[in-house]
Symmetry: C2
Subunit: 343 residues, 2 copies
């Protein structure tokens, strides 16, 4: 993988990753990003950090296609975030970060523990093509994306203040997506978020994924030599799918070339089946769960939470899910797996 | 409070609560409810129970107003769930329960711990009037509602299989509400859900609510002699509000008449301010957090999660919230409190 590091005029970094070296000349840049102001407050009853970034209220919201900030630069056109005429995969520091290298001062609060909103929020642009999706990328491009995630883990964990890293993708207006150009994000946290903390504790006892692998028959969606795509038998979302290497690997940097290639293939398999399930692009949240800093026993995996439970019917998170943390599902995992397998 | 217990023909119980004794004759009942089939599966990676109720896929979805199942019965009209010409507050066992007294068999699963979906799901109808909302109820009716919640805690904890109880209200199509008639729900779980477990552990160390009370100035929305409404300084949702008695009380059954009355007043204050905030009915999730069975140190409180962050803009739960459990907020709690105070 070739890497070009470009420093934007407003101080943010842009990385251009590709199979080929990136040598195009830089073009005019857009407006500089506003100063970030982020801080954390401790929730003493749930015992977790909450992140505050008030400057985000003004963030870009469904711009017209010729004002897409992720599209490549055109002479005389709208200057977006990536001042180059083309690229393969581009990563840049978010214009409206929830966490940042220079988060600004921590406010004085009367009765609550606060801390700086230190960390990183990056945008990962999968392609220079405004159209398409994870499913329509080439397998080679998805493989490059996995290498990019590995590189970001490598770079971000080099900063000792980063405790955990979450690559994710929100897809579809139903999950609040404000830009349709194919892209994901990465959050690098100065603390271990609750879900990763619990998963880390669970994997330290055993890898449930390795244990289940020989018995996954009814739950398989697709498989490759070194990786599996399956509906977990304890899925919380209708049509939830996980993709994991068969053998426990804590971090994307631990994956070998065959695993990278197999995971890239399954990423395409799963997202393609989602789009065929209800005959429309499936809105979903995708997250990559990998080891918090220094955790040697985590089993990395991708989790997809699709938000349609039937054609035209959304799965809402309501009282029991949001207020108690207990999910109610009305699609059985083995039935969801069979439907997805047959597509 | 007067109580009338009525046994529906399909075996479900209906409770009619009111200031006056309920003596109206029963009318024709609608279709019997289908057999529930609910079970639990253990999520070994998040270490929590997931509830499955596949029969719920066919549940009632935004019926036309003259087919509202919560409206009182009219001669020759649509037979709903409450076969009486009028009532004050009605509670009945949900037609499509996620948890039930007779949940049916537990499926054989290859690699996952499963258990019966034992518990209760009840619907709480606030008024016989199809129109209106928590804000437009009389204070007397809201006080009656608090007494009904207390009575339900008393009755449900009489069943030793119930470990925790969650009254909640989902309001607005934006949070997936399928019936507009003013109502809430109660889930009674055979386990302690993760959020209540964490809050219970936190309150066993100290009551953060009692500690903060003297320093809540900037965060107050409204107050009464024995109760407060405030934006928690660590709010996860924009315009999140909590209502709590000033003195620690674990359960609704522990509240004295002044506290019941003050909480009823504040329930109206908060929901009225929500509806004025953006000049439209505010969609929200409201939950009552009270002690799991046998927890003597819980400080009961109501939490409101409104889902609008600005006029016409929803707060979506996406990658970091759903995938990591860490919330990103873009409205500062002290600013939200000031806005709500001034309405």
């Amino acid at each position: 993988m070739q890497t070009r590091i470009y420093h934007k005029a407003d101080g943010r970094t842009l990385w251009l990753y590709g199979r080929e070296p990136h040598t195009l000349p830089a073009q005019e840049e857009g407006e500089p990003a506003p100063e970030p102001h982020s801080h954390l407050r401790w929730h003493p009853v749930r015992e977790e950090w909450v992140m505050y970034a008030a400057h985000r209220q003004g963030r870009t919201f469904l711009p017209p296609p010729d004002h897409c900030p992720l599209c490549p630069a055109r002479p005389g056109g709208f200057p977006g975030e990536i001042p180059f005429a083309d690229y393969e995969i581009a990563v840049f520091e978010n214009r409206f970060p929830t966490l940042s290298r220079n988060p600004g001062p921590v406010p004085e609060l009367p009765a609550v523990k606060a801390a700086p909103g230190t960390g990183r929020c990056e945008v990962v642009v999968y392609t220079s093509d405004h159209q398409g999706s994870m499913a329509t990328l080439s397998t080679e491009r998805r493989e490059l994306l996995l290498q990019v995630w590995a590189q970001r883990f490598h770079d971000l964990y080099a900063d000792p203040t980063i405790a955990a890293i979450l690559p994710f993708e929100n897809r579809g207006v139903e999950v609040g997506v404000t830009l349709h150009h194919p892209h994901g994000q990465i959050y690098a946290y100065p603390f271990v978020p609750p879900v990763l903390e619990r998963e880390s504790a669970a994997f330290s006892k055993r890898s449930w994924i390795e244990d289940l692998t020989p018995r996954l028959g009814d739950y398989l969606v697709a498989q490759a030599e070194t990786a599996l795509a399956f509906v977990p038998p304890f899925a919380r979302y209708p049509y939830e799918v996980w993709i994991a290497p068969r053998v426990r690997k804590p971090l994307p940097t631990d994956l070998n070339p065959t695993e990278l290639s197999d995971l890239a293939t399954l990423l395409g398999e799963v997202t393609g089946r989602y789009d065929r399930l209800f005959g429309r692009p499936m809105p979903y949240i995708m997250v990559l769960h990998a080891a918090p800093r220094g955790d040697p026993t985590f089993h990395l995996h991708l989790e997809f939470y699709p938000v349609l439970r039937a054609p035209g019917k959304l799965k809402y998170l309501a009282g029991t899910e949001v207020g108690a943390g207990s999910f109610a599902a009305d699609v059985l995992p083995e039935q969801a797996a069979e439907q997805l397998r047959q597509l």
